[in-house]
């Protein structure tokens, strides 16, 4: 009887390990696109805000002509936004149903709140917002919205890592704005990408419960 018991136990252990490794691999495959996207955004922030920091009359060091700095920044943002749209469209490919709808609404939340923020800022500029303040409020407002959307996404998918990233990005936006121009660009160029890269690594490794759908014991 005891040999039978230990056989059952070894078998159960093997099956449990198989189940866990399959869960991890499923999560990591479903989330790989998002991990890559975070790396793209980390690069866009690092290069884009780095260029602004190095821009003549914009940043703290004078390495790039003003126009070049803005073009580099703009190009980085455009590439990252296009990548985001592609990732959004391809995400959950092959899966249909309720969660697809949920994902679609969430995707639109990004577009709507970004365009809304941008229009609001244009309105402020029309009302006479000085350039120096615009340099503070533009990245600050967008980063705040990004942070809020990560909070919402984290809550929606019960994803603590994503939620944590939201908190960090909001903290970065606040810290950068308190630093004032031109140091805010440096804060965005360094702190934002570090946080995004950490989260990207965690997503791929599936170390933390990204979408813990089931309750541990009594269900």
């Amino acid at each position: 009887m005891s040999t039978d018991d230990s056989g059952t136990r070894a078998d159960a252990e093997r099956m449990y390990d198989l189940m866990q490794s399959q869960r991890r691999s499923t999560q990591s495959r479903l989330l790989r696109g998002y991990a890559v996207l975070l790396v793209v955004w980390a690069a866009a922030w690092a290069i884009g805000f780095g260029a602004l920091w190095c821009g003549h009359d914009i940043g703290g060091v004078d390495l790039l002509p003003t126009a070049v700095a803005w073009i580099v920044f703009g190009a980085c943002m455009v590439v990252a936004i296009v990548w985001s749209i592609i990732t959004g469209v391809r995400s959950g490919a092959g899966i249909r149903g309720r969660s697809r709808f949920q994902g679609m609404l969430y995707g639109w939340s990004w577009t709507i709140s970004m365009v809304g923020t941008w229009l609001l800022l244009v309105g402020l500029q029309r009302a006479g917002l000085p350039d120096e303040l615009a340099a503070l409020i533009y990245p600050g407002a967008f980063a705040l919205i990004v942070g809020v959307l990560y909070l919402a996404g984290g809550a929606l998918w019960r994803a603590p890592v994503q939620y944590a990233l939201g908190i960090v990005i909001i903290a970065v936006a606040v810290a950068a704005t308190f630093m004032g121009t031109p140091f805010n660009f440096l804060v965005y160029a360094i702190a934002g990408p570090i946080a995004m890269l950490i989260v990207a690594v965690l997503l791929v490794r599936g170390l933390l419960p990204v979408e813990p759908r089931r309750e541990p014991s009594h269900d």
Binding site: T8, R9, A12, E13, M15, Y16, L18, M19, Q22, R23, S25, T26, Q27, R29, L30, A93, G94, I95, R96, G97, R98, S99, R100, Q102, E211, R213, R214, D219
Partner: protein, 99 residues
């Protein structure tokens, strides 16, 4: 101690059930090729095991069209989810129930 559910207690089918439970929310369906990709299984192998799971009422599949191409959509049934959770609980009990 009751027997572990023999329908789930096979490596290939346990992987299928785990993946469906993990990837699909309630009311979601996954296309056959997408499921195959998540599992790294051959179409024939996957079809065989899905048939066994379907016979037990743990998964359901529907044939549909995406554009003009025929497509198979697979979903985990509420009974399937319940069976998977019961199986998981049983495994945990066998392992001491601490995890």
């Amino acid at each position: 101690m009751t027997e572990l559910d023999p329908v789930i207690h096979a490596p290939a089918r346990l992987r299928i059930m785990t993946t469906l439970d993990e990837a699909l929310g309630d009311g979601d369906e996954i296309a056959f090729p997408a499921l195959q990709k998540l599992l790294d299984m051959t179409p024939g192998n996957l079809t065989t095991h899905l048939a066994k799971l379907e016979a037990a009422g743990y998964v359901a599949s529907t044939k549909t069209f995406t554009g003009r191409r025929p497509a198979t959509l697979v979903t985990i049934t509420p009974a399937g989810r319940a069976a998977f959770r019961a199986y998981r609980t049983q495994l945990l009990e066998l392992l001491g129930g601490t995890r």
